[in-house]
């Protein structure tokens, strides 16, 4: 209990004293997580809609891989990205390993299947009759899509929140591809692991509260968007 109180006190100290290192780490965490989830949404939403609304050859296989991807262990994702970005790897010339970009890539790999699969599930539940009714109202394809996205706003935002939950909590892949370099690739989760290994439990706890606050703020904003203007 004492440790918990110390952790909370330490967290307040760090924030109120304007600890530049903590701010830099928190800012980088926020930046890589938001960029990752934005890219995952930009790819996963159209892909999920395509998989949910259309039928084509190979769709089930693709869906199977995406669903398997939802359970992809972050260390495996990290290993793949490392091999891809390694000096002798296919993208080695880009020298992206141990950079925030590498962390973003690993986080996309773990969150994209979640956003895609949950979006697909939501769109798959749209009945043929509903699609027929929207078409009969005189909607173009684009208008149909807009209506469906508005109708499925709750499910789509839930998919984005689930994806965000995965990236904000991610540590294994970020450690592997980012290297936890101070001032460059150190994010909150990797710092917590490092502080625990050093025995600095109060700092680790303080950072965990900051991480939780960040996650809470983003999730609260998404929840607000999801739940607003529901008329009874």
């Amino acid at each position: 209990m004492e440790l918990l109180i110390d952790g909370i006190k330490k967290a307040f100290d760090m924030i109120l004293s304007g600890d530049r290192e903590v701010f830099a780490i928190t800012w980088l965490t926020l930046k890589v997580c938001l960029i990752s989830i934005l890219i995952s949404t930009l790819i996963g939403l159209p892909l999920g809609i395509l998989l949910g609304l259309t039928r084509f050859k190979g769709r089930r296989i693709l869906l199977l891989f995406i669903n398997i991807g939802m359970g992809l262990p972050p260390v495996v994702a990290g290993l793949w990205i490392t091999m891809l970005l390694w000096r002798s790897g296919p993208l080695g010339d880009l020298t992206l390993l141990y950079s925030p970009t590498a962390i973003v890539m690993a986080q996309i790999l773990v969150s994209l299947p979640i956003v895609t699969s949950l979006t697909c599930t939501a769109f798959q539940q749209i009945s043929e009759k509903m699609l027929l009714q929207i078409k009969a109202l005189g909607a173009t394809r684009m208008q149909t899509l807009i209506i469906l996205i508005k109708q499925l706003k709750i499910a789509i935002l839930a998919a984005i929140m689930a994806g965000f939950g995965r990236v904000i909590a991610e540590v294994g892949a970020a450690m592997m591809v980012g290297g936890n370099i101070l001032g460059d690739t150190r994010i909150l989760t990797t710092t917590i692991v490092m502080e625990v290994s050093k025995g600095n439990f109060d700092i680790a706890l303080a950072l965990s509260f900051i991480l939780l606050s960040v996650a809470l703020l983003i999730t609260a904003a998404l929840t607000f968007l999801q739940q607003r203007k529901r008329i009874s």
């Binding site: 009945s127 009759k129 027929l132 009714q133 173009t140 109708q151 008329i231």
Partner: protein, 247 residues
């Protein structure tokens, strides 16, 4: 009377099975056409083909004498028709938003939309529901919204696929009475699919009986009901046991 929509040698096949086989069929302006038949006869498929919502397997569909290319129905033509299905299939939003949707999709000015929605809300007796979420309505209220949504675009042809069948009897009677008055005042051409003789008898002035994907008999509703032919007699006589034919 010039036909609005004509079918010429239409077939519709699904999974190698012929669902529709209709050599000739017409919808004429101003009529309230009923399509009746047993379950699985192809009534709803015929409705979708007539409304250009499904592509025929073979044959031609003409609109005002012009052949409409299969699979390439102009949006402007599709927007001349509207449809109300058995399930109201309303969107998550207010009743106002639901009724306005057809006009919104046609990019009508907001002031016009407001005016028209208020008019149709009043005609269907649901002005008090305008701000309510459409997903929380009773079956009868939802079907009124569904019909108002279909009527507001002032369609050239209104297609109705058993819109009253899921309602309880008193709700059905009241809605059918109101709807008949509204559609007669608006002089809308309507095609009404039903398997209920009472609904057909009350609303329609021409009737086509479809059995196994083929139109077995068509003509003025009272004549078809009173003088069924050898192909439709068994189906119609079953119904006549339960409903008197007085209009």
């Amino acid at each position: 009377m010039n036909p609005l929509v004509e079918l010429n040698n239409i077939t519709y096949k699904a999974q190698n099975k012929t669902i529709l086989d209709i050599p000739e069929f017409q919808i004429c302006a101003g009529e309230f056409l009923g399509i009746m038949g047993p379950n699985g006869a192809g009534k709803s498929t015929l409705l979708k083909v007539l409304a250009f919502l499904e592509n025929q397997s073979s044959g031609a569909i003409l609109y005002r004498g012009e052949v409409i290319p299969k699979g390439n129905v102009p949006l402007e033509l599709r927007r001349k028709f509207s449809i109300a299905l058995q399930q109201s299939l309303l969107l998550d939003g207010t009743v106002f938003h639901n009724i306005a949707i057809g006009l919104t999709l046609r990019k009508m000015p907001k002031t016009v939309i407001k005016e028209k929605v208020a008019h149709w809300l009043e005609l269907f007796g649901i002005s008090h529901l305008a701000k309510k979420n459409a997903l929380y309505l009773s079956g009868g209220e939802a079907q009124r919204v569904n019909l108002a949504r279909a009527m507001i675009i002032e369609p050239e042809i209104l297609f109705l696929d058993e819109p009253f069948s899921a309602l309880d009897f008193p709700t059905k009677i009241k809605l059918m009475e109101d709807f008949k008055g509204i559609i007669e005042t608006a002089r809308t051409t309507a095609v009404f699919v039903s398997h209920d003789l009472m609904e057909i008898n009350y609303l329609t002035n021409r009737l086509a009986i479809i059995v196994n994907g083929e139109v077995k008999q068509s003509g003025p509703t009272p004549r078809v009901l009173e003088h069924p032919n050898s192909s439709t007699a068994s189906f119609l006589n079953e119904w006549k046991k339960f409903y008197p034919l007085a209009r």
